[in-house]
């Protein structure tokens, strides 16, 4: 990468990643959970590692009445609680000096005018070179007013040679139409090249490792197609319920909350062709091709290939939990799905005839996110005969918890008889690499500060994903309560989901 005129030459080569540039990070929704639990602890960890340029300001923008000091004190408390590493008070003191609070309502133009003045002053005092990173951590219904005010106040254009970027937290709309509206809204203020749509799943080490596994190891890519792969299962199961998100979740449901973004992103990384380069657009081009190749589901197909369900009362880890409809702030007659299992087909040369099964759910028996690539069986000769049927090879990429990769294969049991049993080669990140994995937000914030959009969703990715999901939503809207299956909390989901996969001579993996 050519050295920019304004780059600090002493920063070059200090880390083996792209360099974050000095900037002011303005967080809208600065008093919210995301800021306290994720964003500021992530920034602190980067500062403690020396990965953050000294000239970085964090400006919290919110309505509540606070001073710089009280804001820093609150953040100090929560960072000590949520940081993945123990807080060093000296380092925190230095980092906290870069934090300030800007009190304003999101719809008050005067607040943006004074923000602009404050940012200009910070540029002068702390040498942040006019670079601004706006983080929309507020609720989505505030995005429009924030973006409009950023545009009208001129804050969407950086002064001088600086840059102005915006990070948009999901959800990116609630359907294709609203996603397009949101994208148009963002685009009216920031060009696509300065827009970073964050999907924190993509910041996880194992998600990043999918491409390394596929394209840095010659053995896998030869087998990565319809000739050798029977089917693929992508699972994101949770033990928790809606927690404090009932208001949002009851309107969204599992399809919008998980499938449209996280699971389709994982599917893209699993199914895409090798990109021509590792730059953001080369990778995102390939992901978009996968989304465009997803076989659209009409009403009949949606009914047949998608199972939606909601949890009833049950027990998770031995503790009784209420039914979804009895959760606080949930409509007692809610038809919102807390579980989705579906079969997806990718109509391209590589994946013709290979079903991808996606499943997500809340209040399931175990929390796990993984991709399982199920290979076809060995020919029915020699060891794979009726007397002793072999289990097929499975390559599992575990996203969380216990990130890692395992490969199931067959091996002879020691002894005079020829008995073949499955064995598992297991790689655990934690075991092999020991050290704490950085939080996804650390990586993603650094990337946004460096101008690297590889791990962020592009506009067309988001819209293609919605185009696919919208058809299912349309099909569901025509159904009544009969279309909603039920499962007991603490189980593996409804029996309808088992039937879905059994039709393909397969079963859901035991997680």
């Amino acid at each position: 990468m050519p050295e920019s005129k304004s780059a600090n030459p002493l920063r070059e080569g200090l880390t083996n990643r792209s360099l974050p540039e000095p900037c002011s990070i303005i967080i809208f929704g600065a008093t919210g959970d995301l800021t306290h639990r994720k964003l500021v602890p992530a920034l602190y960890n980067l500062a403690a590692e020396g990965a953050l340029p000294q000239a970085v300001n964090v400006v919290g923008f919110a309505r509540r009445d606070k001073t710089d000091e009280s804001f820093r004190a609150e953040l100090g408390e929560t960072t000590r609680q949520f940081s993945r590493r123990q807080v060093n008070e000296d380092i925190w003191a230095g980092f906290a000096g870069s934090i300030c609070y800007h009190r304003s309502a999101f719809d008050d133009p005067a607040g943006y005018a004074t923000l602009a003045e404050r940012l200009d002053a910070l540029d002068r005092e702390r040498g942040t070179r006019g670079n601004r990173l706006f983080y929309l951590a507020a609720s989505p219904d505030q995005f429009e007013v924030i973006l409009r005010n950023l545009r009208e106040s001129g804050l969407n254009r950086a002064p001088g040679d600086g840059w102005a970027r915006v990070i948009v937290e999901k959800p990116f709309g609630t359907d294709l139409a609203s996603a397009r509206d949101l994208n148009a809204l963002v685009e009216a203020s920031f060009p696509e090249s300065d827009t970073y749509r964050i999907d924190h799943y993509l910041g996880k080490e194992t998600a990043q490792n999918i491409m390394v596994l596929r394209f840095a190891n010659a053995i896998f890519e030869q087998l990565w197609n319809a000739r050798y792969i029977h089917h693929v299962q992508i699972t994101a199961s949770e033990q928790i319920g809606v927690e404090g998100r009932a208001g949002y979740y009851d309107k969204a449901g599992a399809l919008r909350d998980m499938i449209q973004n996280h699971l389709l992103q994982l599917l893209c990384l699993t199914a895409m062709e090798p990109p021509v380069g590792l730059d953001a657009d080369s990778i995102r081009d390939e992901k978009v091709k996968v989304l465009r190749a997803l076989r659209p589901l009409d009403d009949a197909a949606a009914h047949k290939l998608v199972v939606r369900a909601q949890y009833g009362a049950g027990a998770v880890n031995g503790t009784r939990v209420p039914a979804y409809r009895d959760e606080q702030n949930v409509n007692p007659e809610s038809l919102t799905e807390t579980y989705v299992a579906m079969q997806v087909n990718i109509d391209n040369w590589r994946w013709a005839g290979v079903p991808f099964f996606l499943r997500v759910g809340k209040r399931l028996a175990k929390a796990a996110t993984e991709i399982a690539v199920q290979f076809k069986g060995a020919p029915p000769v020699l060891f794979n005969v009726a007397r002793q049927t072999l289990t097929n090879n499975v390559l599992v990429i575990r996203i969380q918890p216990d990130e890692g990769i395992s490969l199931r294969m067959s091996a002879k049991v020691p002894g005079a008889a020829v008995r073949v049993e499955p064995v598992k080669m297991d790689f655990h990140y934690g075991t092999s690499f020991g050290k704490g994995t950085p939080e996804a937000y650390e990586r993603l914030l650094l990337d946004a500060m460096s101008g690297d959009a590889t791990l962020f969703a592009r506009r067309d990715e988001v819209e293609e994903a919605w185009r696919f999901v919208d058809r299912i939503l349309d099909a569901w809207s025509a159904q009544d309560a009969e279309g909603l299956a039920m499962y007991s909390a603490g189980t593996w989901g409804p029996t309808e989901a088992d039937d879905l996969i059994t039709r393909h001579s397969a079963t859901w993996r035991r997680l």
């Binding site: 600090n8 000096g97 020991g434």
Partner: protein, 354 residues
Amino acid sequence: MEAAVSVATLDQAGFGIPVEIERIDRDLNKLWEDAGEKKTRASLINLVLYSENLESAFENTSLIADIAGEHACRAILILAKPDAPEAKASAWINAHCRMIGEREICSEQITFVLEGDAAREPAGIVFPHLDSDLPLCLWWQAPLQKPVDARFWAWVDRLIYDSAEWGDSPAGSFAVAREICGLRDGRTVPGDLNWMRVLGTRFALASLFDHALALERIRSLDRVEITHGPRGRMTALLLLGWLAARLDWTLQPMMASPFFSAPDGRQITFALQETDGAHISGCRFVSADREFLLERQPGTTLYEATVSCPSVQEPPRVVHVGSEKTADLLISELSRGGRHTQYLASLQKIAPLI
């Protein structure tokens, strides 16, 4: 001639269970069988530590315990006594375990004490016990000397050394390291722990110029002063070489007082000052109207960073320099990997001063 090492002393040294060399693999397997399901063996590299000093060999065992927590490895310690009167080879096995979640993850350690002729031909005794197909990182804790045994070094993927330990005349050892690393078309990569030692200082120095107004002055510096500890001259030279490489300065060594020249013809004078304390205890950069200071807070791993100039009104900042404990330097070296192109460029810049 050196006396043989007492086996009783070694058995007390924490090397683990004494084993016959031909039974090492069998006894290691038995170690894991006895542990049952409770312990998991993990290994990503072969880490070999070669020492000719009994004291360092003892220290290496506790060092490996620290390293294994971050880098699962098969660790092999070699204590070589080439001057011992009789050829003799002894071995011990051990495991270093730490809890990760509910699992106990373990790295193996094999210790060899090689005496006399056995110490002169270590490859035949030690290398059969490497974990196959995993890279070999060898930390050579003795002076690197000629002649270079090409067959021995052909095994090594990463040659680790600490140039701060090479005293006031490290040029000979650097030359040997260069020769070793050139043997296999550059596939043996040098890793100088002294370079890792300056990493935190490099971060801290870089942070001095993050400010836009400070950055304007980075190419008009005209003096550099580095204060180093009694064993820190080479560390200071590496830091100076790095600055020269990053800022495109060229050493003019033939002058009575060597200086660097910048691409615009400017002269940059420098001074290395020895004092008590850390390897690097301070840096001062001066340009016409500004001064950039890093001062180590005594007894800590913190620098106070100050930029003094009329237009930058920042209070001094505290910058964490990172741990400089040997185990942490080694962990850092093993974590970063790569070919250290900046290290090689820095060495080149200060070669006449070594």
